[in-house]
């Protein structure tokens, strides 16, 4: 059998969602994964938003390998040994409106690919696709080793550094400015310790974001998610900043782990997994035309990632784009036309699945988040002000405004502060 309706390259959330949606509609689908099993190459990520999963599996989305439902969100600004934290308590686990959950990608991706297999997609693992088969500008298959397999449409779901989107000519090579680098450790604790230390119930968990000291005030941040009996802890930094400041991300990670705000959570834990990953930088880098003759790109491969600074989204947009691509292929089959012109309705399908509207709406966020002061001056300023407000040592207490003015000295001007505030509010 060397011909399928559709070949999907990469069994991550985007690829498996596309394969599932198409196989369910009766398409013959070949889903090819390079790793030994789906998820083995996709160790990053930690929190997944619920809504796309509910759309893909309305009946039984809760069967996904969910670690804990996120019931509390914290943003901490770190400076020195101090931290200013904003805490938000969200819905409790019982609610059907629960917004997000934590997951171990290894298990989640495996589960999603299994679902695709159950409805008839052929999931092949441990095979690396070497090249696309292209003739007269039309993609018509893939080559792996000496083997060629053909299909009407090839869907590239090969992640952030997608070589197939490049080979199909719809995406230029990545430049360092466009990517962030992330490292993540899974630190094993016990179920009880997680519940005690984070003050959460059995299936409940937290999602924490950190900026400031964590990146040594470079652009980026840290995160902590609680799993069943472990935490996922990581640091993400703009790769350009890393190289211009000659900083090693591993070093930042080590120091982050020693910060008192983190130490209290992970003390006595054991690192059971370490991973590093590239992350496409910010929504606007999305490929303007994620399609070509006989070809579509989904998920990270198409740059569908959205970072607001306080939330980080990739998996949900990946799933939605996979579903959108399936719609597009379905419509193309109805008219038996897989040319770029026919597949251009992908943009429409992306919009109706909410992928594009989100990316367009938040298009301004990246430039605001590019502002280095968010990662340096502000965390220092806030921690400094609160530190002075709450330090009672018998000396003369100053008024709040005075403290603020003093702390701002040399860090930021009042004009800049006003401008940043305005810009930030507008872009979010």
């Amino acid at each position: 059998m060397d011909r399928f309706d559709v070949i999907v390259i990469g069994a991550g959330p985007a690829g498996s969602s596309a394969a599932y949606s198409l196989a369910k509609e009766g398409f013959s689908v070949l889903l090819i994964e390079r790793g030994k099993f789906p998820g083995s190459k996709n160790v990053f990520g930690g929190r997944i938003y619920t809504y796309p999963l509910k759309r893909l599996f309305p009946e039984d989305w809760r069967e996904a390998p969910i670690e804990r439902y996120v019931v509390q969100e914290n943003i901490s600004m770190l400076s020195g040994d101090t931290a200013v934290t904003v805490q938000y308590d969200s819905l409790r686990t019982g609610s059907s409106r629960v917004n997000s959950f934590t997951a171990i990608r290894l298990k989640f991706d495996k589960w999603l690919a299994k679902r695709a297999g159950e409805v008839g997609a052929m999931v092949i693992t441990g095979t690396r696709v070497d090249d696309l088969l292209v003739s007269n500008g039309t993609v018509f298959g893939v080559r792996a080793g000496g083997d060629e397999v053909k299909a009407n449409v090839i869907i590239a779901a090969d992640g952030v550094a997608s070589i197939f989107a490049q080979k199909a000519g719809i995406r230029p090579e990545l430049i360092p400015k466009e990517i962030s680098v992330g490292v993540k450790e899974t630190i094993k604790l016990t179920k009880k310790r997680i519940e005690d230390r984070f003050n959460v119930g059995e299936k409940e968990g937290v999602a924490n974001a950190y900026i400031g000291q964590v990146t040594n005030f470079l652009r980026g941040g840290g995160f902590l998610y609680t799993n069943k009996d472990s935490v996922s802890l990581g640091v993400v930094v703009q790769s350009e900043d890393l190289s211009s400041h000659r900083t090693e991300i591993q070093e930042l990670m080590e120091r982050f782990k020693l910060h008192p705000s983190i130490q209290k959570y992970i003390e006595g834990g054991k690192v059971v997994e370490y991973s590093a990953h590239m992350i496409p930088e910010l929504g606007t880098r999305m490929i303007p035309r994620p399609y070509a003759n006989g070809f579509l790109a989904v998920g990270d491969a198409a740059g569908f990632v959205l970072s607001h600074g306080y939330t980080y989204r990739g998996v949900d947009l990946a799933i939605l784009s996979g579903m959108a691509a399936a719609e597009t292929v379905k419509a193309a089959r109805a008219v038996n036309d897989y040319s770029a012109g026919s597949l251009s309705r992908y943009l429409h399908d992306l919009r109706s699945h909410g992928v594009l509207s989100e990316l367009e709406e938040f298009g301004r966020t990246p430039s605001f988040l590019g502002n280095p002061r968010i990662y340096s001056a502000y965390p220092q300023l806030l921690c400094g002000i609160l530190n002075r407000m709450y330090t009672v040592d018998g000396g003369k207490k100053e008024k709040m405004f005075h403290i603020a003015k003093e702390e701002m000295k040399g860090k930021i001007s009042l004009m800049q502060l006003m401008k940043d505030l305005l810009g930030g509010t507008r872009s979010m």
């Binding site: 059998m1 052929m122 092949i124 441990g126 792996a144 080793g145 083997d147 397999v149």
Partner: protein, 268 residues
């Protein structure tokens, strides 16, 4: 001897826990097989490769045969991915706990059930028990000649010429078809499964519904009751801690320092 030069071959393969993940249940004194990664027994892969090379040269057919629980399907899919024509799994709860005697018996019966073969291949031994009994056991059961620890094989006019590894070198033997060959570990480079091979494995599927009755096994002769081996005691060797010192810097200096330390501590 078949009419044409085409060979009818079967390779017996087993899925074993990955060597580096071997663990022993301290109470049951058996290998822990659940929750550890598994692989095709390495010398079985060499047997597969040897058979595939003969198939490439002479044509014919190659069956992959395994005995074990349903998860062994994975190993048979890999075998088809590499080029075997079919995969057959003999699976029956009654076979659980079999040692090498009932295993050789069951596999011999399965081979008889599947038809006539020119060559029956096995790996020299499995990494999970290292007995090397099963191949020779099958030869005895089937009353066939056997060549063990084979590193090279050649078939001509119904004759087989094989080079086998022995303690202090190699021996070259010749015999007639049909026969049993057990293949020496490390004698060739097993090929990777191909994409089309994997697709074929999925498309044709594994014949996994062959049970003890189908091949005519006597229930008394298989499983725990048919196994004379009794594991009396298992001892694991505790390795001493490594001192974990790293000598870095200029190679000459580092080596000199290492030698000095080894001498000072009376090791050399």
């Amino acid at each position: 001897m078949p009419e044409s030069s085409e060979l009818r071959m079967v390779v017996c393969i087993k899925q074993v826990p990955k060597a580096e993940q071997l663990k022993i249940d301290p109470v049951k004194k058996t290998l822990v097989r659940e929750g550890v990664e598994s692989e095709i027994n390495p010398s079985d892969l060499h047997a597969l490769e040897m058979a595939l090379q003969l198939k490439d040269k002479h044509g014919g057919s190659l069956l992959a045969l395994s005995m074990g629980p349903p998860r062994f399907i994975q190993a048979l899919e890999t075998a088809i991915g590499m080029g075997a024509d079919e995969g057959i799994l003999l699976s029956d709860r009654a076979l659980g706990g079999s040692d090498t005697l009932p295993t050789s018996h069951a596999l011999s019966k399965a081979v008889e059930h599947l038809g006539d073969f020119d060559i029956i291949f096995c790996g020299e031994e499995t990494t999970d028990s290292s007995t090397g009994h099963v191949g020779p056991g099958m030869a005895a059961n089937l009353d066939l000649p056997q060549l063990t620890y084979v590193v090279e094989v050649e078939v001509r006019d119904g004759h087989v010429r094989a080079k086998r590894a022995v303690e202090d070198g190699f021996e070259v033997w010749e015999t007639t078809l049909p026969l049993v060959i057990t293949v020496n570990h490390g004698c060739n480079h097993p090929r990777e499964p191909t994409l089309l091979g994997k697709i074929k494995a999925r498309t044709i599927g594994i014949i996994d519904d062959v049970n003890a009755d189908d091949v005519g096994l006597d229930k008394e002769k298989i499983g725990l009751s048919g196994s004379p081996t009794v594991v009396d005691k298992i001892e694991t060797v505790e390795l001493p801690d490594r001192s974990g010192r790293i000598y870095s810097g200029e190679a000459r200096e580092a080596v000199t320092k290492l030698l000095d330390d080894l001498e000072a501590e009376g090791i050399i």
